[in-house]
Symmetry: C2
Subunit: 270 residues, 2 copies
Amino acid sequence: MEKDSRVSLIIIGGGEDKNAHMEILEDVVRLSGGKDANIAIITTATNYPLEVGEQYKRIFYDIGANLVDTLNIESRKEANNKHLLRNLEDIKCLFFTGGDQLRISSILGGTEFHRYIQQRIKKDLIVAGTSAGASMMSEVMVVAGDDEEAPRKSTVKLAPGMGFIKGVIIDQHFNQRGRIGRLLGAVAQNPYALGIGIDEDTAIIMNDKEEIEVIGSGVITIVDGKEITYTNISEQNQHEPLAITGVKVHILPEGYRYSLINRKTIIDEK
Amino acid sequence: MEKDSRVSLIIIGGGEDKNAHMEILEDVVRLSGGKDANIAIITTATNYPLEVGEQYKRIFYDIGANLVDTLNIESRKEANNKHLLRNLEDIKCLFFTGGDQLRISSILGGTEFHRYIQQRIKKDLIVAGTSAGASMMSEVMVVAGDDEEAPRKSTVKLAPGMGFIKGVIIDQHFNQRGRIGRLLGAVAQNPYALGIGIDEDTAIIMNDKEEIEVIGSGVITIVDGKEITYTNISEQNQHEPLAITGVKVHILPEGYRYSLINRKTIIDEK
């Protein structure tokens, strides 16, 4: 990341290394201030909030964070509690665990907590998330869809996400679960949105200039539909296979950067 | 397919329906002459030549073929036997079963049988193949590579194929086994070659104008590297992730046609 830019998002494709080589989680702590890092773990997505919360808490303390809280917000009422927000003033990074992205959007969407994040992310907050915590980042998020299947029109189910990243659809566990078909289906529905598939143990770091940088052991797959010449997505019969021509695909591993605004790989420093 | 063209290849992505809805195998019989169809099944790829050969024989007779032979060529000596070739004069279609594509290339490559096919395919022979029998069709074939993995430089192992289709690399069981990563790796090595990933129960029919048409229940994925702007494939360290920008991808289901010569979807009739 460039020195004069500020990190606002860390979006992890799930399955980040939690043992030997915790590069991604170490970066979460480092970018949040290292030994001064104050992190709140949001376990809303998972059905095992205590176990998952404790696991990340231990890891972030092991890495050297200053303060690690776990916040298991389980209802919209809690998410609208202003007392909760006052406790977040010293937090530098919100870390969303995996689970079900619809739990995040249905419990947190449109609440005071959501509005608080939207305001502070413009100033000094980092929002990090893995797996479901990655999917929920975009305005439109992938909820379900067949893995390892031929792209079909009806394969992919979309829902409104939390909107921390604009004009993008995120998918996670990408190559590991063979999800290119469902991401193509999502992008074909509106090529305005750029598809970004993130592998396991891989993440993108976004700065306030909407530039992303790849970290981790896998790759990201960028699906750019702006040059699509033909698709049958709007025709009848939701179960028939998808046709789509002229999609541009980029595969980027660690160290590569991409401008979401220009839709271009940033190669000046390579 | 256009009326004034002649079918030369039927390339099947494996897992073609053999029970209720045998569209692809029915097309093999139909294009080979229907009730006049004489088909030879080549079981060289499989370790179970009797079982596999008998299964296809029964199916092709059930569909209504005139004559179905099974040819289990297991050695280069057999493949050089001119008596074998004389028995093929009345055969309209050679059908290669699945198994191991290296068995096909190592046993049949460069033999009299191979030369015979190359000559007759220009005149009146149809070569059909499924799974390994599909991979072996191209000049360079995919032998092995990790499924459902982030694209890595070393992931894909290539070998010389039988060369019935030029300038193309075929991969099969495509979306079902999450193989986009390994096909991208293959195409990045030489964007001269067009990558074609064929799903299960899906096939391409090629005519003598090098136009392909899709049939079956899945899709084909065409990976066109001619506009690649950057790749790290030639740099050091074979195990690091692949970077590749500017790949063009097309997804085509049944009924769609594509010109291999022009690298364009043929949409005039849609």
